[in-house]
């Protein structure tokens, strides 16, 4: 069923009391890729990471790690997995090197010299003897990545690994993760930083409200995705929305067909779709006697993400709305 997959998740469900964190999540992560796991805050990314590492138990669903079923009691399956989950966690009074030594004492044994090599890799060799309590957030993050790589894992699970890294650190991390994937390892990276995922990932899965809403190679997503934004008179807004809502859609079933916003002079209607839909939309509006004063297309990952996850800044519950839309 899951040949060629480093990670396969089927129907994963998890509730915390009355809150549903995961609602039937499916994931298919091929071997040897960087997989970008995208989702807004609270979508279920960290819950997924915790389930994948046996920290919590699912209410339903199955997980296959590296081609074999994984349940929380199959802890030895994690010997081939490296993980950085949420914020990096260390003994603050120990040095970076001592923390890695302590970490190496649990789980799979590590190769001699591995700790020094990793400290060098993440650029902490010069501060390896200092207490972690004196580290910046970015340094702790780098040490966390070194900890995840300790056992030379075949599957790497990284939760928001770019947190706290400076631009040079982000570039170095990106290069390292790409090299790891090129060497046959699988890298699963959760993030809400779209630009980072776009530059890093070969395959992207987008999660919203605990469910996978899209999973595809990054090129496919960028080719398929996008938004056409139509500027028109506020007087035509409602009629335009009803016309555009009737167009054949190539969007996710649970995504809104159109979204509209109204300013003082102009109204905007957004329709999910690529650049090729612009003329179709223009024609449909013109045939109804509505003439657009402008049409813009946007094929960024951001637009697709916002459309698929329903987190448009226009004001969804639970979304940071920004100063401009607080009224």
């Amino acid at each position: 069923m899951t040949n060629g997959l480093a990670l396969a998740v089927r129907g994963l469900r998890k509730r915390y009391g009355s809150v549903t964190a995961l609602d039937g999540l499916d994931l298919s992560v091929p071997n040897g890729v960087v997989y970008g796991f995208l989702g807004p805050n609270g979508a279920g990314k960290t819950t997924t990471m915790r389930l994948l590492t046996g920290l919590i138990r699912p209410d339903a669903g199955t997980i296959e790690l590296l081609g074999a079923p994984f349940r929380s009691r199959d802890r030895r399956r994690l010997f081939d997995v490296g993980a950085l989950i949420e914020t990096p966690s260390f003994y603050p009074y120990l040095s970076g090197r001592e923390n890695l030594r302590a970490l190496a004492a649990v789980g799979a044994p590590i190769a001699p010299g591995r700790i020094d090599a990793l400290l060098e890799l993440v650029g902490l060799a010069g501060r390896a003897g200092d207490a972690v309590s004196t580290y910046s957030l970015g340094m702790k993050q780098r040490l966390g990545i070194a900890g995840a790589l300790l056992s030379d894992p075949r599957l790497l699970l990284l939760d928001e690994p770019a947190n706290g890294l400076d631009p040079a650190g982000i570039v170095a991390m990106r290069d390292t993760l790409k090299q790891l994937a090129a060497s046959g390892k699988t890298v699963f990276v959760s993030s809400h930083i779209l630009g980072e995922v776009r530059q890093l990932a070969d395959v992207v899965g987008i999660i919203a409200a605990g469910r996978l809403v899209r999973e595809a190679p990054i090129e496919t997503l960028l080719a398929d995705g996008g938004v056409v934004r139509v500027r028109l008179s506020p007087a035509d807004l409602e009629r335009a929305r009803s016309i555009l809502a009737r167009l054949p859609q190539a969007v996710a079933a649970d995504a809104p067909a159109t979204a509209a916003s109204e300013g003082d002079d102009d109204a905007w209607v957004s329709v999910p779709g690529g650049r090729e839909r612009a003329s179709e939309i223009n024609r449909a509006l013109a045939e109804a006697g509505i003439y657009a004063s402008g049409i813009e297309t946007d094929s960024s990952l951001e637009s697709l993400f916002l459309e698929l996850t329903g987190t448009s800044p226009a004001g969804n519950e639970g979304t940071f709305r920004g100063l401009g839309s607080s009224s």
Partner: protein, 272 residues
């Protein structure tokens, strides 16, 4: 073995390990030296005779040991709670589990490293106490011939072993409480509250208290009530259990606390 060695190494590097020992040794030093210094001002009074017992060997050995088990027990609760609670508070338990380590094994071995450190701590604290008592005796002008009392020295290893066992049991209670609380601070707070709660409950439940963990730990050592600090300051005399029975109960409390810690960790959802 690598897990145990790593655990011991972590605790040796941990400032709290040495601060705890320093507090115990420092307080003992202060008290014994103070007793020695005040001896001449209290001359010919009954209080003076009682106080001088503290620095008169071989009784001073009992006083030191009673202090180590009494106040040391409270510090062991705090230390055990700090070690277990920090695994949750700092998120380092999460790292171990995510690396495929057995939760039960991790908890048991983590406690094992506490047991080793407590053994080192008991020996060092006892040595510091004896030195302090000797200094106090010298200041007070009390003869120190009893320092080499053969009968006392022969029984000392067994008494120290029982004291260490009692300390370990009290450390296990702190460890279990902090595990259940999933927090270093909450564990320490609850451990201290339990310790003093048990002491205060001697006022209301004298027949029950003798079976409770802190009292059995002291009873297991088999010290006489003449020693300082042995009753934990509860205020009301509590009939102590025979030391062998108390030792058995210490073992029961100890195993129970470790089992509770392991079972809880095994079943817990680690979300922090």
């Amino acid at each position: 073995m690598r897990l145990l060695l790593a655990g011991i190494r972590k605790l040796l590097f941990r400032p709290a390990s040495w601060i705890t020992l320093g507090v115990l040794a420092g307080l003992m030093g202060l008290i014994f030296v103070a007793v020695g210094s005040r001896a001449d001002q209290l001359s010919n009074s009954p209080e003076n005779a009682a106080a001088l017992q503290l620095v008169t060997f071989p009784v001073a050995y009992d006083a030191v040991l009673s202090f180590v088990v009494g106040l040391g027990g409270l510090l062991a609760v705090i230390f055990g709670a700090a070690v277990a609670g920090s695994e949750w508070t700092w998120g380092t338990l999460k790292n171990a589990v995510a690396r495929g380590e057995s939760r039960t094994w991790y908890v048991v071995i983590s406690f094992g490293s506490v047991v080793v450190l407590l053994a080192v701590g008991v020996v060092l604290a006892f040595a510091a106490g004896v030195i302090a008592a000797f200094i106090g005796a010298s200041i007070a002008g009390v003869p120190t011939d009893g320092l080499t009392d053969r009968a006392t020295l022969e029984s000392l290893p067994a008494t120290l072993l029982r004291g260490w066992f009692g300390i370990v049991e009290q450390g296990a209670l702190g460890f279990a409480i902090a595990t259940l609380a999933r927090s270093q601070l909450a564990g320490i707070g609850a451990g201290i509250a339990l310790y003093f709660g048990e002491q205060f409950s001697t006022l209301f439940l004298p027949d029950v208290v003798k079976y409770l963990p802190f009292h059995v730990a002291q009873a297991a050592v088999g010290l006489t009530a003449r020693a300082f600090g042995g009753d934990g300051g509860g205020g009301q005399a509590v009939a102590r259990l025979p030391s062998d029975v108390a030792l058995l109960l210490v073992g029961t409390w100890l195993i129970g606390a470790v089992v509770v810690s392991a079972l809880f960790t095994q079943r817990a959802e680690i979300t922090g």
